[in-house]
Assembly symmetry: C2
């Protein structure tokens, strides 16, 4: 079971290797661990539910606490300090589409708001309910009904000839791949949250898996599905492509629970690749690394992944890898090849037949060498693949050492990327200067496109004994970075979604007319505005 106030399983006890702890202490000063609230105390303090008993709904206080938040940093601070401003009044676990319709009707007639809950992994405040997670917004006066989708979680139909698989929207990543494996099939969608997040969550937040370059973002994989909305049932047929007017799938994608509950999704699945390779190169510096990533991205090669790390993230990755013999050899080799402290790692993935994987990787070599790159083989890539879902656990370990860690991300065209990356890191690094606190910020390009790239930035700062002060520090950093992104012309989110944390920046991308379209859309599906309040759109139309 997942710990109630963190990311990792209760059975896992993530620790930082000494080399990583030394690095972070050197950057930020010693951490001052705070003590966590105890679950039993938090549960005991939960107010009485305002909902009438209903056979489909659990009113159990612990259940309600465990569904109160996602995994944003404000959520974490609330959980770790035990200062949850609100918890849902009940948690429903529908087993059928009919159950969902009945719950929506019941909520409508009870004056309750409805919050859909998939894996609970939103890092942007995507789990609705005004006032949760120490938000500045007032607590809602209406009761909140959370609809958890964990029982809508199996393979419903598989059309093997077409490669179309229909799953309940609450299916988690591992369960989804497990159901496809006996058929030799895969979805190939592997976000970092893969182990906990759900298909429905991926769809409504426009998730990008780590190998989206090859398998496609969830927008490409989501063929159709079914939304139960207050205004009725909305079905999307799984055509392979269509020119029949605007694509309404693209309105469900990114709708973040505001339209209704996505109960099932049909996805395009493909044969499992015969081979995968993840070769790595080191580049002399960040600028050459960007140029290499851009050259590969623009070459249109059949790759599944291109990742490019800043020097500081490269150093951090090497520090996290610890002091093994093979890491010592790698460092000596990099020194021999004159790769200094500015060296930047570039990691590529290829999936397919032996011949195609080999051909694709052979095309990459000259493009990297032209930028001064040095090949280091497949061991770094194998280590990365082995740990790719576990690195989020480090957030628990860092918190327990006295450091708060958050990530943010954007995307922009190639020509504006270097300035954007510098502006974001500068906004974060200098964000707490007047408090005499330093911030560690480093970035990588996680998704490279022909016309530009995503930028994914990790930042850490010291938490304090006062959760309000820790939250205030986060607000300043998040605000400064978000403004830097919008000012530089980036999207406010490439892969995490909008939630509450990005809602105020959405207008910069959509414009006033676009925001009005989104409000019209929400109103059409949900005329009384009961769905996932406070998320995506700030107010009601």
């Amino acid at each position: 079971m997942r710990r109630w106030n963190g990311w990792a399983d209760e059975s896992r006890h993530p620790t930082l290797p000494p080399s990583a702890l030394r690095l972070i202490e050197a950057e930020l000063g010693p951490g001052r661990p705070t003590s966590d609230a105890v679950l039993a105390d938090v549960v005991a303090a939960v107010p009485a539910s305002r909902l009438q008993p209903n056979s489909l709904i659990s009113l159990d206080p612990e259940d309600r606490v465990r569904h109160a938040t996602g995994q944003s940093l404000p959520d974490w601070i609330a959980l770790r300090s035990g200062r949850l401003r609100s918890v849902p009044d009940g948690v429903a676990r529908p087993a059928t589409n009919d159950d969902v319709r009945a719950l929506l009707a019941w909520a409508g007639s009870s004056g309750a708001k409805v919050v859909p809950y998939g894996g609970g992994t939103s890092v942007v405040g995507g789990i609705g309910g005004a006032g949760w997670g120490n938000s500045r917004h007032p607590t809602t006066h209406q009761p909140i009904l959370t609809i958890a989708l964990e029982r809508l979680a199996r393979l419903r139909t598989l059309n093997e000839r077409s490669g179309l698989a229909t799953f309940g929207a609450g299916t988690t990543g591992p369960d989804l791949e497990e159901a496809l494996r006996p058929h030799g099939l895969t979805l190939g969608h592997f976000p970092q949250s893969f182990e906990r997040s759900t298909l429905g969550g991926w769809v409504v937040t426009r998730s990008a898996g780590q190998q989206s370059l090859g398998f496609g973002r969830i927008e490409a994989l989501f063929a159709g599905g079914r939304v139960e909305a207050p205004a009725g049932t909305f079905e999307l047929p799984p055509h392979p492509a269509s020119a029949a007017g605007p694509d309404l799938r693209q309105l469900v994608l990114g709708s973040e629970g505001r339209l209704g509950v996505l109960t099932e999704a049909t996805v395009r699945v493909v044969p499992r690749p015969a081979r995968e390779a993840f070769p790595a190169w080191f580049l002399p510096d960040w600028s050459h690394a960007i140029d290499a990533g851009r050259a590969i991205g623009r070459a249109g090669l059949p790759l599944s992944m291109i990742r490019v790390l800043t020097p500081l993230e490269t150093a951090t990755l090497l520090a996290l890898a610890g002091e093994s013999r093979s890491m010592g050899l790698l460092r000596r080799y990099l020194g021999f090849r004159k790769m200094g402290p500015e060296t930047s790692l570039l990691l590529v993935g290829a999936s397919g037949t032996d011949r195609l994987v080999e051909a694709a990787v052979r095309e990459v070599g000259p493009l990297v060498r032209r930028e001064g790159g040095v090949a280091v083989g497949g061991s770094i890539g194998r280590r990365w693949i082995a740990n790719r879902f576990r690195s989020a656990d480090l957030r628990d370990a860092l918190w327990e050492a006295g450091y708060a860690l958050d990530t943010l991300e954007t995307a922009i065209d190639w020509s504006r990327l270097p300035a954007l990356a510098a502006a974001v890191e500068r906004a974060l690094s200098a964000g707490l200067e007047d408090l005499g606190e330093r911030v560690l910020a480093f970035s990588h390009l996680s998704h490279v496109y022909p016309s530009g790239s995503s930028l994914y930035t990790t930042y850490a700062f010291r938490s304090t004994a006062d959760p309000d002060e820790t939250l205030a520090r986060w607000r300043r950093l998040k605000g400064a970075a978000s403004r830097a992104i919008v000012d530089a012309g980036g999207t406010i989110t490439h892969q995490h979604g909008v939630g509450r944390d990005h809602a105020e920046y959405l207008v910069a991308e959509k414009g006033e007319l676009g925001m009005a379209v989104l409000a019209d859309l929400a109103h059409r599906f949900d005329p009384d505005g009961i769905m996932n309040p406070g998320v995506l759109l700030r107010g009601e139309p």
Copy 2:
């Protein structure tokens, strides 16, 4: 200059090879050519414009006739017979976004409806104005202002580092590629209408170029742009990807002029491929050919095109190729390899570096051989490429020989494709049986996807001296085929758009809630409902 009442240039005089004419005569009986109306007579009959003079607007009757229709079969019958039910009251040629805004404001205050005009190549009645092209709907009582985009037709900015090119929306295919060529770049979007259709038209109708498998459908190429709408200016930033809520680009894509005038579009352009190859195979029959196309489509190979022809379309293609020596050799070779009258052609395209093209094509071979396929090299593919924009000219030649020709298309998943193809061809072939008239119908898969395929069907029947009777025959055939498509679960259009001809079938795909969303959207951009009346959405909200 394009002929006023057909497809081909006035300088081109398309003719049918004798072998093709024999085939069609054998199938349909001898054609009875009808005589065309004369342009001068049609122009002389044009009613006076109902618009006030305006320096931006031409009221010239010939100008108005030349912008009265697209290229649908009802449009053709109207043009060839000279029985245009209505022509626009004026044709504006704005040179700037400001001009467009001024024209929209002027139209709004004049009580005029507005029809955007790109290349005039819609084959589904996409050029608005109720009552045109012998539609059953009554003529509008308001004057119609056509906004032709031919002066918004150049490369505005090129961001070479990012591969982002911003063009005026009226740029035609050849002008667009010509502007990119000196930079070593291409958009790679080659619909059959390439020589005449425009970037803006591609975007608002969700066009699929012939090599979309490699370069992407226009949905993937359209990064952002600008719509001038009655309600204001709507701008879409060209992010490489975004998770910031529903994707509003996808509402402009497919909007068919109902939201406003798309004045400029930013597209993702890529380096011109070093090499292209178009190898061909023959399969024993249609069923094996489908299986081969499916196997290739599901293998995720880096190909730019997969086309699969029914036996009848294969025979027609061979007949159209005439009686050259190389065709004789091919026929003898196919006989030697025991490919009989049921043989089906499969054509594949690959674009990229030498190594990747070779690797991709080598992966195709075993998949085709498993279905009994026989490779015939690159000559058929080269011939196809050389003629790919000219085959539409044959419609002129057939008309002049007394035959009406139309095409329709859909897409569906692999498991339902064979039944859909059979149902469509049956609906067409038997559609005029009670009149004692035969119909020639044949199909190919033009766009193959991992989960399914498009189906593109060509059909021909004899025209009559009475244009109303020819139109009535078309209505019966189009209706029967459209119902067959919808009943079998296909999309009503994979690549041509909705226009007037498909509007009544759209609800089958979008549902009532979806249709309400589209009406809300149109109302938000165009509150008074002046844009492109009768197209996409049947009535006003």
